[in-house]
């Protein structure tokens, strides 16, 4: 189980897009969302985190 940075829940199926873990459902939603859709901005904001290296604890 990994923490999906898009839906912010633990999910078992997904993959890393650079530093960002994205679950399969969120990836499917992202692909189905067009720039005209109101929810598109949400994915843009979330993907900004792709470039951030998580802090090691």
């Amino acid at each position: 189980m990994h923490y999906c940075h898009i839906c912010e829940t633990n999910q078992s199926e997904g993959m890393f897009i650079y530093y960002l873990y994205v679950c399969d459902q969120c990836q499917a939603k992202m692909i189905a969302t067009d720039p005209e859709d109101p929810g598109y901005r949400f994915f843009i904001n979330k993907l900004r985190r792709m470039r951030e290296q998580p802090l090691k604890s």
């Binding site: 890393f16 897009i17 992202m30 901005r41 949400f42 994915f43 904001n45 290296q53 998580p54």
Partner: protein, 239 residues
């Protein structure tokens, strides 16, 4: 030998997906340091033939190794007032869409197809923002602090505290005013209605009301003050 190296890299990606390991190398997209190097033609082909089987490691590697292309295309749109970070995010969505819909049987180069998808994604977004220039999204980040937390427009938006009571109070006030007006004489009531537009018409000046009723403006002024004081008393009685 190259194929073995690629299989080893893929194994590393699978391990990352399984164990949640983050990339060892530190790159910054949009920064001066280099991004993951692009794949060779052969490597790309080896990964692409794994895609139809749902190989997530191959997909992740294809996305990561094509991020340079995203940054390159995003930079071409830097003069569009859209933040470069946003352009890279939009381009990445375009790249993910490209990798998911790429068909190896169409004999087209992935870079050509992905470039078109990335550019399309950015152009569609630009078209939308041009249409909505005067509008602002609730999810628009206004600021980002040192920890990377975004302050969105929706975070600072609120409604007035009296939003619900305001209309109810106004309607009660109107009822009370009409009750108080009923206590006035016909002419007094008419003066107030004309001066303050109480029966749906425009407000008139003291001069207009004076001309209409054939009396002097100073008399209207005195009457008005007297009527307002009387109405205040009526109000106090009612409350």
């Amino acid at each position: 030998m190259k194929k073995l190296w690629l299989e080893l890299r893929l194994f590393y990606y699978r391990l990352r997906i399984k164990l949640g390991l983050k990339p060892k190398e530190v790159y910054y997209i949009g920064g001066s340091s280099a991004l993951p190097p692009p794949l060779t033609r052969e490597e790309e082909y080896q990964l692409l033939i794994k895609l139809p089987n749902g190989d997530k490691a191959a997909k992740a590697m294809l996305i990561e190794r094509n991020l340079r292309l995203v940054v390159y295309i995003a930079r071409k749109f830097e003069n569009t007032r859209i933040n470069i970070e946003d352009l890279i995010s939009i381009g990445t969505i375009g790249l993910i869409k490209a990798i998911n819909t790429f068909n190896i049987e169409k004999k087209i180069k992935l870079a050509t197809y992905a470039s078109r998808c990335i550019e399309n994604e950015i152009l569609m977004y630009l078209r939308k923002t041009n249409k909505l220039k005067s509008e602002v999204s609730f999810d628009e980040p206004l600021n980002i602090d040192w920890d990377g937390n975004e302050l969105l427009l929706s975070d600072i938006l609120g409604t007035d505290e009296d939003l619900i009571e305001r209309d109810i109070e106004a309607s009660v006030d109107k009822k009370l005013l009409h009750k108080a007006l009923d206590q006035l004489s016909g002419r007094e009531k008419q003066i107030m209605e004309l001066r303050f537009g109480l029966v749906g018409q425009e407000k008139l000046t003291q001069k207009d009301v004076a001309d209409l009723l054939g009396i002097s403006q100073s008399y209207i002024s005195r009457l008005e003050n007297k009527i307002i004081r009387r109405l205040q008393k009526e109000f106090e009685k009612m409350i």
